[in-house]
Subunit: 280 residues, 4 copies
């Protein structure tokens, strides 16, 4: 018995669930968990199904082919728990890399970090400790195009399915964002209200915010504007210094990024225009 996970989206109309569930039932597949959602605004229907079935991938794909064509579906089929091949990109801040690596090793996160790529060498020690291949790809204004080409080469060579920007302090080019659309997760700090420009924690401190937060989202050409996957906040007090705000910010960043990566790797996140549907 294999446990399959099928995710799909398509224009909403009657009969989708019946068709999918019918195809699974014909193979004696047993649905163990499933969620559906129709977005009245976008007119799209989203579905995630976990089903146990004693069947090979080819047979399953064949059984679903009629349905996916009929309803014009975008779909993905995977085995539950299969580690997703992942490239993690970092600069010098270690908290996110550390947490992802620790969670992978603990078996909490169905990812297989096939490469750590950095424009610095500061985090090589962590990569080594977790036995993750480390690639130093320096970036200057002049070498940026070459660096991105090298990144793409690594992604292809490792057959990576996901790129995580784990506090990678370089902006990806529009071309690269398009090339990897829907496969790049970014994390950044968030505040109420939001702050533009440099030293956001110092600005947040000066303004006396009571909450600091983080947002994980898919990277798009419009960098911090991609579909949001997860957000969370932490409470701060008037006597927390800028350095403490930063420490709390890092803690909430690693937590939010960890959840976003897990949900993505478990095929729980579907993109719905500028939004995401998260079937937790």
């Amino acid at each position: 018995m294999t446990r399959w996970v099928l995710t799909l989206s398509c224009p909403d109309r009657p009969g989708i669930v019946a068709a999918v569930a019918g195809a699974l039932a014909d193979l004696a597949g047993n649905i163990t968990e499933s969620q559906q959602y129709g977005d009245a605004d976008s007119g799209l229907f989203f579905m995630r199904v976990e089903a146990e079935a004693d069947v090979e991938r080819e047979a399953l794909e064949e059984a679903l082919a009629g349905v996916t064509e009929q309803f014009d579906m975008t779909w993905e089929l995977d085995v539950v728990g299969r580690p997703v091949r992942t490239v993690v990109m970092v600069s010098t801040a270690s908290h996110c890399l550390h947490d992802l690596a620790y969670q992978q090793r603990s078996g909490r996160l169905p990812v297989d970090v096939v490469a750590v790529v950095s424009n610095h060498t500061a985090l090589q020690g962590i990569a080594d400790f977790y036995e993750l291949p480390f690639h130093h790809v320096p970036v200057t204004r002049e070498t940026k195009a070459r660096a991105e080409a090298e990144l793409l080469r690594i992604v292809r060579e490792t057959d990576a399915e996901l790129v995580v920007l784990a506090r990678y302090m370089q902006i990806l080019s529009d071309d690269l964002c398009r090339e990897l659309a829907g496969r790049v997760i970014n994390i950044h700090h968030s505040f109420l209200p939001s702050f533009k420009g440099a030293r956001p924690y110092a600005q947040a401190h000066a303004r006396g915010v009571k909450l600091i937060g983080a947002t994980a989202h898919y990277a798009t050409a419009d960098l911090d504007e991609g579909p949001i996957i997860e957000q969370d906040v932490e409470r701060v007090e008037h006597d927390d210094a800028v350095s403490e705000l930063q420490a709390m910010g890092e803690d909430v960043e690693r937590r939010v990024l960890g959840r976003a990566v897990r949900w993505h790797a478990e095929h729980r996140v579907l993109v719905d225009g500028r939004r995401t549907v998260v079937f937790r």
Copy 2:
């Protein structure tokens, strides 16, 4: 077009979703939101479907009859948003009644409070303000059986579907719990660790807990042990007096009870033995 909500549970086996979705598709019903869950421990399968269909109740029930029989389903069919006829039972604490009444009036809560029943008269003013029928049913050790009979009479006369114990400080008899099984929601305070006996907030204060919480659950003969619907906590500090703990406790109680009642009234809560499945 009517928007229907169907909830069901049955022994888990292949084909359930296909059968239900197929029956809906045959009526040109469009599923707008749905969730399923198979509990490997209990061997039961749970499903909640919202579907739009241009169909009368009789036709829909007829279309589903074959499926519900075939799979031996426990099921319920309702129109989305229909107010659930509800009896609220109170003693002297007003916070829960107040919140439920306010939320009903605001259109936030799909309930129709058909009676407020109390063993005291302290809260009659609130019932009057919200124009809710108020019944004073005093309870002493001698009159308990008679009082419960009166309660049952009110439940039947108002055709109530749900009874909410909104800080009703009387223990229901086992017989009454059984009579109303699955239809009575209770709220009580909760602590880490838990405290037995009188004056729990004073005990919690003496023990220096940092969190106080509340639990909403279905009432069973074993009073505080019924299936949990919702829980939440609030943070307290060393300088919060017992009275402040109690105020915070009331705040978290009303919040937790409000959520539990809404989810129940929206047919999002299904009982799975000693647990609940909550399709939020």
Copy 3:
């Protein structure tokens, strides 16, 4: 024995706590709770003391006079728990007024609502139920100045110490903000990221945010930019409609405003430039 609360701020230098505590000790005053904070950025020192002493106000003020002059203090002295005379301003949304009135009646909030002022009549019923004087002061572009004059008249006539903008959908003039500086608390919704313009909940929905929040702050001429007193957020899901976001937003608004008003009324909030010091 009276329980006094003294709050003060002044330029930071050695000896402040010693001087204040010494003056209290000379009167046999017993400090029961106290907090101090020196802001290295602004160079200001903040202090809040609760002390029991068998002494009249005059004697206490006299005893403190030397100290407050010596250190150039801004200070306030009050009896712990004395209800603060408060004007609540509303338009048509009832959730904040309702909660403040309920909490006052429950004895949870040391305020005495001496007037409810509204540019509409929709909430008169709530004011009547809680026996709060209601003033209808309509506002049009032409009558705005006259309306503000009427508001000021009410504030003065009732000797109000605090004005709470409880979803009052009119912008106060700069003059009025200055006139009432530090005495007006406003509540508004907050998002990560923030949204400008009309229908913020619809924007937040379209953008797929996962958190919605609220901010309570002192009103300044720059309306939503005054010193923040409290913030909180609530988690939302992809299937929450705009109306549900709004309902959750109202819930978090009333919670945040309730806390801000209580802390202000308990003299726990001190303004530190664009920030607040909150001695919880």
Copy 4:
């Protein structure tokens, strides 16, 4: 200039703050942050002061000697940020050790882990990576007394000030608890309601709890009943398996333990009978 932190408790009576602040003022010490609390139940007064002063420890202690004697104070004086010499005890679960070590290295936690002691060897690799001395002290029923003697020897030899039981799955003897009273912090899972006996996560799952939590407390002879330092919870859903509850439990454990250790190391936690005063 040195930044000092003074913590103290004593029987409550007028004049304490004046005396302490006066002594500091005499040395031209500038108080930058301070909190006081009088517990009416226990009759004890608690104080924590951070003050900048250009003074040696001896001079400061001498200046305070009169005050501490006069008021019969239990007190402690330290330099702000000095790393506290800490022994971490573990068995096989890595999450707490990992987080403490990572936070120490990041400079977030003012501790100096002088020894990792374990009755297993599973976590030696982590200790090595962070360059922490690792001691393998096996424990069987027969060798328990000898193992505790060895532990005490390590504590003394390293001059350790704090022992953290970071999922150390052995119960300390009453004698050892008394020997190290107030210097041992333990972490354990917590539920609403609580569960006795083996496999608590399985019990929590069977009961369908919606929150799982963790409690950090000082270890006393009555193991899980010592004064609570910090608690927190995480929300779980009906479809979270026992293994997921456990993963979430570990995440909340490491977070709660990390905070408790930081607050202890920053001298923010004072014991008040069965409770703690936490000056955050």
